[in-house]
Symmetry: C2
Subunit: 155 residues, 2 copies
DNA sequence: GCCTATTAAATTGTGCGCAATATAAATTGC
DNA sequence: GCAATTTATATTGCGCACAATTTAATAGGC
């Protein structure tokens, strides 16, 4: 549905920023991170650190690789991040006796206790939103994520 | 709809990673960046640099602030990024004569020429996908982004 | 058993993101 | 006009992300 002859409708330009789905993900992810920061700062956590805590609160003493598989992050990101969290007292890292290649990441007492403080974070962040709508979007995006990492393997 | 007595359905745990909409955005954004990287590397661009080029291909000679408003990035991110792009020969930065506070960012000849190479990037990245579906998702996410930055001002 | 291949983390180097601060130019008030 | 405020960019410091490489331990083939 061109407007006329060879003059291309600028709205059909494939390189228009507003046409890029990837940019909406990029912008939303950055903006969400900025929204969480002040809330998580009160728990002495950054946003990626909060995600690690979510993984460990579900199941303690996981390996670095298991955490990485869950969050789609590699050791280049996780190793220094986990060291910072260890320094903050949230968790401890120790080589697995059974398999010395592995490092088990375990919550400290304060790391476990922090879960109580974190319980209200989801509520704060979704306050005033339509929860049904957010959940529908979450399911849609979970499918996108699945497709993105399912396409390039991912056990 | 609890299963029994005081045993909470683990699926209702508000801190479950899979329940977090924010995580789906985070994971998708990271995975998308990883998918674009090898394609953009052939244009000598990173993903954020590609976004800057999209902005400048739409309208050349914009100020740092105008680019930042479009991408939701501040000068702490943009200034060094633009300097790297200048060093790569994609663009030039010069103080505005009218208002010496401003810095105008202009495409070089090779930066303009790079647009031809970039024209097929969206097609490569969306190959095999349902374009109607992607566009519906893009519109949904554009609304989310709008709500996220509309809530905290944004002129 | 021994050698090769595989697996798990750590390390290195580069490029973002962003809060906080600094610097400097334009605008406003009076 | 000139001080005070506002606006635009740069700088500093820290914490991710990630590709590529390295180191070390286990598993497999023979």
């Amino acid at each position: 549905m061109r407007t006329s002859l060879n003059a291309p409708d600028p709205r059909e330009d494939p390189l228009r920023l507003d046409h890029q789905l990837c940019f909406q993900f990029y912008a939303a992810s950055n903006l969400i991170g900025r929204l969480y920061a002040p809330v998580l700062a009160r728990l002495n956590l950054t946003y990626p650190q909060y995600l690690v805590m979510l993984v460990l609160w579900e199941e303690d003493a996981q390996s670095v690789g298991a955490i990485g598989k869950r969050l789609h992050l590699d050791t280049g990101t996780l190793t220094p991040l986990l060291k910072r969290m260890e320094a903050l007292g949230h968790l401890s890292r120790q080589r697995d006796r059974e398999d010395e290649r592995r490092v088990r990441v375990s919550l400290t007492a304060s790391g476990k206790a922090l879960r109580e403080e974190a319980l209200h974070v989801p509520e704060i962040m979704t306050r005033g939103q339509d929860l049904e709508e957010l959940d529908a979007l979450r399911r849609t995006l979970a499918g996108v994520v699945e497709a993105l990492c399912g396409g390039k393997a991912q056990a």
